[in-house]
C-alpha cells in the first residue's frame, strides 16, 4: 500500500540547504567531536586539580598554621609538632580509607576505582564514591607532610571528570577509555606544567601506543589543562635552571656511564618500595594504625630533616638553587628514600612520581660532584648531571624513556641538555629493563588484580564497539522524509531497512545533496530508489581486520552492523574512530599483559575490587 507523502515546506527546504552547506563545510566528524570533548576535559580537569591544590593548602594551614610551602611550614614548627602532624595525618587518612572501604564494599560496583585500570582494562567508568574516598584520604596524607606526591590524586580527579563525560556522551568502551586517558593527560599536564609530557605519559605508559588517532585528543587535553593552570599560576617552568653549558664534548662519556648506573639503581628503588609495602602488610594492624605508623616514621625523620616532608618539589628546587655539599645531599637522599618508602609502604594514597624525580636528581648531582672531583679538566656542572640524572632515573623506573625526556625538558626548559638527556634516558631504560620487567606502573595494574585484568582482555570484542539504535528509514520512505532525516541528524549515510529491520542499503548525503531543494522529487522518489544496496556491512562475528578492510571500501565514518549475513538484521553501527582506538589498545595490551604476567601465578587477585585500595595509584 503506497504511503501518503509528507512534503517539505519551503522554509524547511531552505533550512535543509543551509544545514547541508554547513555539514559539507563545517561538519564535525567523530574525531573532531572527540577533540572538542578533550578540550572540555582538559579545562575541567585543570580546575579539579586546582581545587585539590587549594583544599590541600587549607588543610595544611589547619595542621601547621602556615600557608607557605610544606617544607617551610615544617621548618617553622616545634619539634613535637613535626612528629605529631604526619602521624595524625596518617591516622586520619587511614580512617578515611577504612570507613570508606566499609561503606563502598557494601555497594556492588561495576566501575573501577583507578584511572589506569579504567583506561587499559576497564570499561572507562571510574567509581565516584571510591575516588572521593581516595581523594579525601590523599588530602589528609599530603597536607600533613607525607612524603608522597599529590600528582596521583590530581590525575585521579581529572580522570574521574573525564569518566563522567564519557558516560554523558554514551559512547562505546574504547571512546570512554580514551576520554579517561584525556583526563589523565590533563591531570599530569596541570600538575607539572608539562603538556607534551602529559600526553606522552598516558600514550607511552598507559595506552602503550603512540597513534595519531589517540595522541591528538591527549595533546589537546594536556594543552588546555596547561593553559588553564598557567592562567592561575603563571607560565614558569617548575625547575628552571640558570644557563647550562657543557665545557667539553668528552662529558658525553660520564653522562652515558651515569645513564647506565641509574639504570641499575632504579630497580633497586622499586624493590625498596615493594619491600616496604611487604613489611607493612605483615603488620597485623588495621589500615589507620599502619598509616599512622608510616606518618610517625616521616614525622620522626622530619624532626631532624623537615625537608623530607611533601612530594619533594621543594627539595628538588633547593637542590638546584642552594649550594648543598656532597654530604648534605647524601643525607637528604637517604632521608627522603626512607620517608617515601614508609609513606608508600603504609598504603598512603598518592604518587611517587615527584619523589622519583628528586631521587634521580640527587643521585645525578652526587655523580656530577664525583666527576668534578675525579676529572676537574672536564669542568662538569653538577646541575646538568642532576637534571640528566632526573630524566635517566625516571626513564629507568617508569619504563617510559620518551615521556622522561619530554618531562625533564618541560620541567627545565633547557635545550642544552636535551641530546645528553636523550642518551642517558635510553641507556637507563635499556639497562633497567634487564632487571625490571614491571616498572613503576605495571605495579599499579598488578595491585588491581592481574586475574581481573586478564579476564577483561578476553571480554573486549567487536560487540563492545557497536552503537545500538542507528537512525534508519523504511524502504518506501519518501524523498521528503529522506531530506528531513538528513536535516535532523548529522550523518553522511542513512540506513534503509525493511519491516523486519533487514538491512537493505544506505543513502549517501553526497549522492542526494544537490537535489534536496527539488520539491517535485518529494512524491515520486522513495528511499529504495536512491540507496546503495552494496554498501559495506559488518557482522560481529567478523574480526577487526575485516572491519578495517570494509572501512577502506567506503569514505563513511560508520558501518552498519548486522547480526549475520543470512538474516542481515541491522543491530547497530560501528565507528571508524572507535575501531582504531580499539586496535590501538589491542596493540598495547600484549606489553601490559607481559608486565603483570609473572605475578598471576604468584599472587592471587585481591577480592573486592570495588573497595578502595590503600595505595597510591596512577601518576606516582
Amino acid at each position: 500500500m503506497p504511503r501518503p507523502h509528507a512534503r517539505l515546506s519551503p522554509a524547511l527546504r531552505r533550512l535543509l540547504l543551509l544545514k547541508v552547506w554547513i555539514v559539507e563545510h563545517f561538519r564535525l566528524s567523530e574525531r573532531q567531536v572527540t577533540l572538542v570533548w578533550a578540550a572540555v576535559i582538559g579545562f575541567f580537569g585543570a580546575l579539579a586539580a586546582e581545587s585539590f591544590r587549594k583544599a590541600t593548602e587549607f588543610l595544611q594551614f589547619l595542621g601547621t598554621g602556615h600557608f607557605s610551602s610544606i617544607v617551610t611550614s615544617f621548618e617553622d614548627l616545634p619539634l613535637w609538632q613535626r612528629f605529631a602532624v604526619p602521624t595524625a595525618g596518617g591516622l586520619l587518612a587511614g580512617l578515611t580509607l577504612w570507613f570508606g572501604n566499609r561503606l563502598i564494599s557494601s555497594v556492588r560496583q561495576k566501575s573501577t576505582t583507578d584511572y589506569m585500570e579504567a583506561i587499559v582494562v576497564g570499561n572507562g567508568k571510574i567509581s565516584f564514591r571510591a575516588s572521593l574516598v581516595k581523594t579525601i584520604s590523599a588530602l589528609f596524607s599530603i597536607s600533613s607532610g607525607a612524603s608522597i606526591g599529590r600528582e596521583g590524586p590530581l590525575v585521579q580527579l581529572s580522570s574521574l571528570l573525564a569518566s563522567f563525560a564519557g558516560r554523558l556522551r554514551r559512547c562505546p568502551v574504547p571512546q570512554k577509555r580514551h576520554m579517561v586517558a584525556c583526563g589523565a593527560a590533563a591531570g599530569i599536564a596541570s600538575a607539572y606544567n608539562a603538556p607534551i609530557a602529559g600526553a606522552f605519559f598516558v600514550a607511552e605508559i598507559i595506552l602503550g601506543t603512540v597513534v595519531v588517532e589517540s595522541l591528538g585528543p591527549l595533546i589537546l587535553a594536556s594543552v588546555v589543562a596547561t593553559f588553564t593552570t598557567r592562567a592561575i599560576h603563571g607560565a614558569s617552568a617548575l625547575y628552571r635552571s640558570p644557563d647550562l653549558e657543557f665545557h667539553s664534548r668528552w662529558e658525553a662519556i660520564p653522562i652515558c656511564v651515569m645513564g647506565l648506573l641509574l639504570g641499575f639503581l632504579a630497580p633497586v628503588f622499586l624493590q625498596l618500595l615493594r619491600r616496604s609495602e611487604k613489611l607493612f602488610s605483615k603488620l597485623r594492624f588495621p589500615a589507620p594504625v599502619k598509616m599512622a605508623i608510616g606518618g610517625a616514621i616521616v614525622g620522626g625523620i622530619a624532626v631532624f630533616y623537615p625537608q623530607v616532608c611533601g612530594n619533594g618539589q621543594d627539595l628538588l628546587s633547593s637542590l638546584f638553587h642552594q649550594n648543598w655539599d656532597f654530604d648534605t645531599i647524601s643525607i637528604l637522599l637517604i632521608a627522603k628514600l626512607a620517608a617515601t618508602s614508609a609513606t608508600f609502604g603504609s598504603g598512603a594514597v598518592g604518587g611517587v612520581f615527584t619523589p622519583t624525580l628528586f631521587i634521580g636528581s640527587a643521585l645525578g648531582f652526587l655523580y656530577g660532584q664525583t666527576v668534578l672531583l675525579l676529572f676537574p679538566g672536564l669542568q662538569p656542572d653538577p646541575d646538568i648531571y642532576g637534571l640528566v640524572g632526573m630524566g635517566a632515573f625516571l626513564s629507568a623506573a617508569s619504563g617510559a624513556p620518551i615521556m622522561a625526556i619530554l618531562m625533564v625538558f618541560e620541567l627545565t626548559l633547557s635545550y642544552t641538555i636535551v641530546p645528553y638527556l636523550m642518551v642517558a634516558c635510553v641507556l637507563g631504560y635499556y639497562c633497567s629493563s634487564i632487571f625490571e620487567r614491571r616498572f613503576m606502573y605495571g605495579e599499579s595494574l598488578e595491585r588491581k588484580g592481574a586475574a581481573f585484568f586478564n579476564s577483561q582482555l578476553a571480554e573486549v570484542s567487536m560487540t563492545d564497539l557497536i552503537r545500538t539504535d542507528p537512525i534508519t528509514l523504511p524502504e518506501q520512505a519518501s524523498f521528503a522524509e529522506v531530506a528531513r532525516t538528513f536535516l535532523q541528524f548529522q550523518f553522511q549515510h542513512l540506513y534503509v531497512v525493511d519491516g523486519s529491520r533487514r538491512f537493505l542499503g544506505a543513502i549517501s548525503l553526497h549522492d542526494v545533496k544537490a537535489f534536496l531543494d527539488r520539491p517535485e522529487l518529494e512524491t515520486v522518489v522513495i528511499a529504495s530508489d536512491i540507496m546503495n544496496e552494496n554498501f559495506p556491512r559488518i557482522s560481529p562475528l567478523q574480526g577487526t581486520a575485516e572491519a578495517l578492510r570494509k572501512f577502506s571500501e567506503t569514505n563513511s565514518e560508520r558501518l552498519p552492523v548486522i547480526d549475520n549475513f543470512n538474516s542481515q538484521r541491522l543491530i547497530g553501527s560501528i565507528s571508524k574512530t572507535d575501531l582504531i582506538l580499539h586496535l590501538a589498545g589491542e596493540q598495547s595490551r600484549p606489553a601490559v599483559a607481559r608486565a603483570v604476567e609473572p605475578d598471576v601465578a604468584e599472587k592471587p587477585a585481591p577480592s573486592g575490587d570495588g573497595a578502595v585500595a590503600a595505595k597510591g595509584d596512577g601518576a606516582k
Partner: protein, 148 residues
Amino acid sequence: MINTKTLESLRTAAFVNPLAAGSEIEAIERLLEELKTNPLVANLTELKRTIFERQKVDPPFLPMGVAFPHARTDSVRGIVVVVGISPQPIPFSVGSAKLVLLIGVPKKAVAEYLELTSFLARHLRGEKVLDRLMGTTNIEQFLAAFAP
C-alpha cells in the same frame, strides 16, 4: 534548463503513440517490448521484474495522469526511456494514466536518475505542457514540446 545527460537520455528514448493497453501491466509490458533490441539493456527479464517490484511498493504517479514506472537496476548499462502516449486513459493502481514514461537506470547513476526524474516531474505538472506532449507523434516533437 535541461541537463545534457537528461537531454541525451530523452533524445534516445523509444516512442509509442498510441499506446494501446487496458491495464497497468499491459502498458508496462508493451513499453518494455520497445527495449528488446536496445543495446543498453543487458537483461530485459530482470528489468521487467525490477520495475514491477518497484510498482508494488509505491508507484510513481503525477496528478495530471502521468505514470513513470522505473527501476534502478544493473540490468541496464545506461539510462533507457520509453515514452508511451495513450489517448484512452489506462487504469493504474493509483489513477488513470494518459502518459507513461518507463525508465531504467543503472544502479550507480543516482545523480542522473534524480536529474531525469526531477526534470520530468517538474514539467509534467503543467497542464499546457502536458497537452502539447499528448499531441506529439515522435520523440523530436516530444522534446520540443517541453520548450516554453
